[in-house]
């Protein structure tokens, strides 16, 4: 609308005073189609231009950290799924591996590979959902359905494995709750094999779309300094040109045994963030494919056959699904503290646990990637147009349960 009163240097010879216009304060959310949950953005608009933006969080606070103080670790574990419900294998991994580090539990190789496969599959589902909602934020409705179609296949795999489609609760201290169902790896392989075609399909309808390019290239440029200063991690950080991936720099699980690349962007705009995530899906597929080939013991059916035949080598440590038989219900980790950081689909997911020798944790602290990633929204948005808000907010992939915990 008209001209702005502020932030324009006075140089008019025609106008002694600029036309007085009022900024409009729009309260976006907590309930809004594109806030991906319950985020409230107090936005100051000058016409269509965003002058200021103030995120208000806390609408989804469920005191996940406080809850841990009143129940045993084993009782607490099912609630972890809700910290970040789109990729809860990562939360579980952070939690379980912290306890394992404190208790110095050994994790069999087979379990590590199962964890790796599930986590990478979960990364793909998370990125797929991000892809759908991001395009929905940009106004394209169909990609959402396509993404959900593929996600559905992977969720079916999870259902076969864990019995749940979203809240898996599959990992245990020093192992997983049960071995893979027979033939599960083949199903995974099938999904993984047909997946690149689907990705190419998405690229064909989205990545080369001129409107999409117009709306993402050069929008919301996050410089590397800005990203680091705000604690941005994950694909958003890598899109800014910093090659920081915990799976590479600090390999946990068995990530050092598989070969994959870390996609890096160079501008840090919405397009780069989009491309980085897309490439990451392909890299995840690569990891899964290698992990399926390398997993000790191979498919469960094969392993069972060997065991039935009395093959002693089939019972060795690396082929078990538990490192050490422990009674989970009464499990008391030794006194100590430890922490783990995992490369979740949104960035560093940290879990810090202090134990005091009782079944409960003395204190659990979660470090959600979305929380720090969200902090970059306000500086990124200044001076852009209102619809860019949705593009940028979608592209940094924030999930609100993780912000509020």
């Amino acid at each position: 609308m008209a001209t702005t009163a502020t932030n324009i240097p006075q140089q008019g010879v025609f106008l002694e005073k600029d036309i007085d216009t009022n900024d409009m304060v729009v309260n976006i959310g907590p309930q809004h189609p594109s806030t991906h949950g319950v985020l409230r953005l107090i936005t100051t608009l000058d016409g269509e231009i965003v002058k200021n933006i103030e995120p208000v969080i806390g609408y989804l606070h469920r005191s996940k950290e406080k809850m841990a103080e009143s129940r045993s670790l084993y009782q607490y574990q099912p609630t972890i799924d809700r910290v970040e419900y789109l990729s809860s294998f990562f939360d579980h991994y952070a939690f379980v591996s912290t306890v394992e580090a404190i208790a110095e539990l050994e994790v069999p190789k087979r379990v590590q590979y199962i964890r790796m496969i599930t986590m990478e599959l979960n990364r793909i589902t998370s990125h797929l959902l991000w892809f759908g909602t991001f395009l929905l934020d940009l106004g394209a409705s169909s990609p959402m359905f396509y993404a959900f179609r593929e996600r559905e296949k992977i969720l079916k795999l999870f259902e076969d494995l864990t019995g749940a489609r979203m809240m898996y609760n599959y990992y245990r201290f020093g192992g997983v709750i049960a071995d893979m169902p027979e033939g599960w790896l083949d199903k995974v392989r099938k999904v993984v094999d047909e997946f690149p075609d689907r990705l190419d399909e998405y690229e064909a309808i989205v990545t080369k779309n001129p409107i999409f390019l117009d709306r993402t290239i050069g929008i919301g440029i996050m410089s590397a300094e800005m990203a680091l200063a705000n604690g941005v991690t994950g694909p958003s950080l890598r899109a800014s040109g910093i090659k920081l991936d915990l799976r590479k720099t600090n390999p946990y699980c068995s990530y050092d045994e598989v070969d994959f690349d870390v996609p890096v962007g160079n501008t840090g705009d919405c397009y780069d963030r989009y491309r980085v995530r897309f490439q990451e899906m392909r890299e995840s597929l690569k990891i899964i494919r290698q992990a399926i080939d390398k997993i000790p013991g191979g498919d469960t059916a094969e392993l069972n056959k060997r065991r039935a035949a009395g093959d002693e080598t089939a019972n060795e440590m690396d082929l078990q699904i538990y490192g050490k038989k422990i009674n989970l219900i009464t499990y008391k980790p030794p006194k100590g503290e430890g922490s783990t950081i995992v490369e979740s689909p949104r960035g560093f997911l940290g879990c810090y646990i202090i134990t005091d020798g009782s079944p409960k944790a003395y204190r659990i602290k979660w470090r959600g990637a979305s929380f720090s990633n969200l902090s970059v929204l306000a500086p990124l948005m200044k001076g852009l147009l209102f619809p860019d808000l949705m593009a940028i907010f979608g592209s940094i992939d924030v999930i609100l349960p993780e912000v509020d915990r």
Binding site: M1, I8, I19, I217, G241, T249, V264, N266, D272
Partner: protein, 242 residues
């Protein structure tokens, strides 16, 4: 249609009353949005009068031009007056005596119009009772070429006149509009700070491995990362952007 003179008359009075009522409303209504809406009523009535005068082309042009114009008036109304309730945009403390000058001018103009209407030169002989008869319809419509003009809505005739006899006023009007447009652009142009330097925001070089403590170090643009970013560049180029 020859028997529809009564209908014509009813329509004329309807449109006339709507037009004058709407115009009065434009002036006297407090809210600018309502004023704009009443302006729409006025313009539509004028268009109706043009239709009655066998000039549908001008009527349609009237609606087209003022329909869009009205939207702009509405926007101005919303922009200039801001939040509701809409107050009188001129302000409440308007001194009363300023009514005087425009009032006098308006009445003088009206007097002039009345005088010229009632002067004997003007052929206005058809005031006959309550309803207005059309001035010598038979003669007007039997003039050579008039029927043809009516048949295509006057488009051809008006077009020819605009580009021959009235070319200069037409072009002047368009220049005026152009000036208005340029003026609007100049007035509403936003000032942006001068561009400092071209180039993409780049990865800063002074970040070293020690920036992140302990667990992880960030390796900048080495090995694979470099490759990946180059790939990105080439992709963008092939897509025809950048």
């Amino acid at each position: 249609m020859e028997n529809l003179t009564l209908l014509n008359q009813i329509s004329f009075w309807l449109f006339a009353i709507m037009m004058i009522g709407g115009a009065l409303g434009v002036v006297f209504h407090k809210s600018i949005v309502y004023s704009a809406l009443l302006l729409l009523v006025t313009f539509l009535s004028i268009a109706g009068l043009f239709v009655l005068l066998n000039a549908p082309f001008i009527a349609a042009a009237q609606i087209l031009v003022y329909g869009v114009g009205l939207t702009i008036v509405l926007i101005f109304g919303i922009m200039l007056t801001g939040d509701k309730p809409f107050v009188d945009p001129v302000g409440q403390e308007r001194p009363k005596r300023y009514w005087l000058i425009p009032g006098v001018i308006a009445f003088a103009f009206m007097g002039f119009l009345l005088w010229s209407l009632l002067s004997p030169n003007y052929n206005f002989t058809a005031v006959n009772g309550l309803f207005l008869e059309r001035v010598q319809p038979s003669i007007a419509e039997t003039l050579p070429g008039v029927q043809a003009i009516i048949a295509d809505g006057g488009v051809t005739h008006i077009g020819l006149l605009l580009f021959s006899k009235y070319l200069l006023p037409f072009e002047l009007a368009s220049v005026l509009l152009l000036l208005a447009m340029i003026g609007a652009i100049i007035l509403s142009k936003r000032q942006f700070p001068e561009e400092e330097a071209e180039g993409e925001p780049h990865v800063s070089q002074d970040l070293d491995g020690g920036a992140m403590e302990g667990k992880s170090c960030c390796s900048l643009n080495e090995g694979n990362g470099n490759l990946a970013s180059e790939n990105f560049d080439s992709e963008k180029e092939t897509l025809g952007v950048h």
